[in-house]
């Protein structure tokens, strides 16, 4: 995993440097098919955080030269117990926003992107504490439970990352996310441990990382003629036979 990441970082940095250094092609064929992805990092997170199971898919589609509409959706199940508390949570989330590609396409079909973007996220979940125990030094140990309740939260995200085409229409990519909570409806009886799609429910802000594989369903939408500024005035009209 680390080697692949290193490879992607290296390739993308290389691309960033060379794309700006080279003269653009005169003709660019743009493929604007929808790109569907699966977040592989969620499976790794489960290994390190066995109390939570996450699943996340994403999609993006190019709407202008460097502008993408992007979104993610997913599911979270959290369950843990320790000597004082049993906790369960189940919920879903969705995010929608835009990504802006900082790279210029180099050649026909070039689809690697280095992007920054923003998202609006919304999560809804049901959580409960089937059993809790309080050890009071004066009154002894007592138990209670908190019945299931459905809550929601919304947040904003800033995202930066890259997607690199490793095979035709197959991409690998990662991104970093900074999330800040806009609103959550909570009660003092139970603070969500995890807000699906946002992260730790007790915090106002969270950071996250995604590492994903994507497949672009290719749709050849547009053929665009670009003329290099240096070439202006030297382009001859096609010869005609008289």
């Amino acid at each position: 995993m680390a080697k692949i990441s290193k490879y992607i970082i290296s390739v993308s940095l290389l691309l960033t440097g060379t794309l700006h250094a080279q003269v653009k092609d005169s003709a660019i064929v743009q493929y604007r098919g929808i790109r569907l992805g699966l977040d592989l990092s969620r499976f790794a997170f489960y290994y390190f955080q066995p109390s939570r199971k996450d699943f996340e898919v994403m999609a993006d589609v190019q709407v202008k030269d460097n502008l993408f509409v992007a979104g993610e959706a997913g599911w979270n199940h959290t369950q843990f117990h320790n000597s004082l508390l049993q906790y369960r949570s189940n919920g879903y989330f969705g995010r929608a926003g835009i990504d802006y590609n900082l790279l210029q396409p180099e050649k026909a079909g070039e689809a690697n992107i280095l992007y920054i973007g923003a998202r609006y996220g919304f999560g809804i979940f049901t959580h409960e504490a089937p059993l809790y125990e309080v050890k009071d030094p004066y009154y002894g140990t007592y138990r209670g439970s908190i019945s299931p309740r459905t809550r929601n939260a919304s947040w904003l995200e800033f995202v930066a990352g890259l997607k690199v085409e490793i095979l035709k229409n197959l991409f690998l990519g990662w991104n970093l996310r900074a999330k800040t909570l806009l609103k959550k409806n909570v009660d003092t009886e139970l603070t969500p441990y995890i807000i699906p799609g946002f992260g730790k429910g007790a915090q106002r802000s969270n950071f996250d990382v995604n590492y994903s594989v994507y497949y672009r369903i290719p749709i050849r939408l547009k053929k665009q003629l670009k003329i290099h500024p240096a070439a202006v005035g030297t382009v001859s009209p096609p010869s005609t036979k008289k």
Binding site: A2, F45, F48, Q49, P50, S51, F80, N82, L84, L85, Y87, A129, Y132, E133, V134, D136, P137, Y138, Y139, Y142, G144, I146, T188, E189, L190, T191, Y193, K200, A202, V209
Partner: protein, 147 residues
Amino acid sequence: MLLSVIMVACEDDLKRCDQSIAARFKIGFYQKIAGKETDTALQTLTLYPIGLPNSIYSKESGIRKALLPLSPLADSTRFYIRPDTLSLADTLTIRYKRKPTFISPGCGYTTFFDLDTVLFTRHSIDSLKMIFKQVTLYNGENIKVYY
């Protein structure tokens, strides 16, 4: 590697509790001399919840403020209070609503209280004033007791 460390650290909060989760009812002791309120240190204070085997304060001197545990198992707690060995004892009955409150995954729950009424006998106590109704981890003085 760094990610692994972060991920493992992320679950520490399920096991660790670094704070006190005891919500305590706070009493301040005062005197009114010529209409002016001054806090007073009780000489040999004895104070405990009636029904519990041990005193919270047993003939302790110099006490200006007392921290007391309200019962999380009932909607009222009754205290025995005697300011010194020469005075008669009084009882304080605190009525409240209990609020189970989530602290953190590692600390679990505790009970906060919303005070309703305070009843008291007047053998030695002159009067009493409720200041702050919430009993939480961070509350100030809940009542003032005047001798």
